[in-house]
Each structure stands twice: as C-alpha cells, then as structure tokens.
C-alpha cells in the first residue's frame, strides 16, 4: 500500500519538486525585474523607467 521509491508516485513527486524549485527561481527573477521598474517609478525617473521596461538585465 505504501508507495516504494521506484513507484510512479515517487517519479511524480520528483518532477513536482523540480517544478516547484523552477517556479521559485522564476518568481525571484520576476520580482527583481519588477523591483527595478518600481524603483524607477518611485524615483520619478522617466528615462530610467523606459530603459528598465525595455531592457532585461
């Protein structure tokens, strides 16, 4: 009844873990891009804002 280490459940769990980690890194990347843009907005720096929206570092 309890799934073994080679069962399909274990595979699913492994893929799930991989994708959870991937999502975390994606959200960190998104957060840093957003942070740069919001930073330019708060500083009311139009040229910096346009630069940060149009270029991805």
């Amino acid at each position: 009844m309890i799934p073994s280490w080679k069962s399909p459940e274990a595979w699913d769990l492994m893929i799930l873990t991989l994708f959870l980690v991937a999502r975390t890194f994606l959200s960190i990347y998104m957060a840093s891009v957003n942070g740069g843009i919001v930073n330019a907005i708060v500083e009311r720096n139009l040229s910096l804002f346009i630069q940060r929206v149009t270029t991805i570092s």
């Binding site: 399909p8 459940e9 699913d12 799930l16 959870l20 999502r23 975390t24 890194f25 960190i28 998104m30």
Partner: protein, 154 residues
Amino acid sequence: MKIIGLGMVAVPASFVNSFLDFLNRKLALRFRRRLTDFFHGTYLKDMVFYQLGNLDSRIGNPDQRLTADIEKWANTLSTIYANFTKPTLDIVLFSKKLAEIMGWAGPLLVIAWYLLSGFVLKLVSPPFGKLIAGEQRLEGEYRASQTDLVHHAE
C-alpha cells in the same frame, strides 16, 4: 525591444503554474487509486463488509470512509507537500536575496514577525482539526441515513 524577453519568461511561467496543478492532481489520483485498491481488497475479502456493517460497531459509516474520506485524504496529502516545501524554499531564497541587498536584520525581523503572528493566530483560532472531524462524521451519518431511507422505501 527586449520587453519581448519578459514576455518570453511569462510563457514558461504560466506553463509551470498549470503543470504544477496538473502534477498535484495526478499525484492525488494515484494515491486515491492505491488506497481504494488496498481498502477494497480487505473490505471485500472474507465477508469483512458484512461483519463491518452488521456485527461490529467500531467503524461507523464504512461507505463514507471508503469513498469521500479516501478522496479527501489523497487530495490533502498531495497538496500538503507542495504547500509545505515551496514556501520553505521561498523563505530561504528570498531571505538570501534580501540579505544581499539590505543585510540580515531585515529578513530576520520579517521571519520573527511571522512567527509571532502565527503564534497569536494559533492561540486565538478554534480547534479546526476537531471541528472538521465532527463535520465529516456528520456528513457520513447524513449520507447513511439517506441510504437507509431509500432501502426502506419499498
């Protein structure tokens, strides 16, 4: 225009989100199948279902337990993994990122605040576990009464 770059990140991001949902449900379904197989194996062997229903009163409403409760349990077990590991990893990685920018004092303060508010919430919230157990028991009894009614409707 490199804004297309952000759009190209958004596409795999939305895919990852939906795929996570898909994997969760798939895992829940596998768990449910395994449990249902196992429990029905014992339930249908050697007239156990008869003993359970008519001779033994230790396990009430076996039908509810075998159908709805197993499904709920499998769903909860599959989501508990994602709901526990992802925030933990998030906390570690985001704290590291924040610490690079503003030092360790900020993230530590945030974590301390969350621990404190979680503790206060724990103190003031009602016993959800007991309430949900009671709810499930009542659901089972309600269902069993409905079935009885149909059986005696001749």
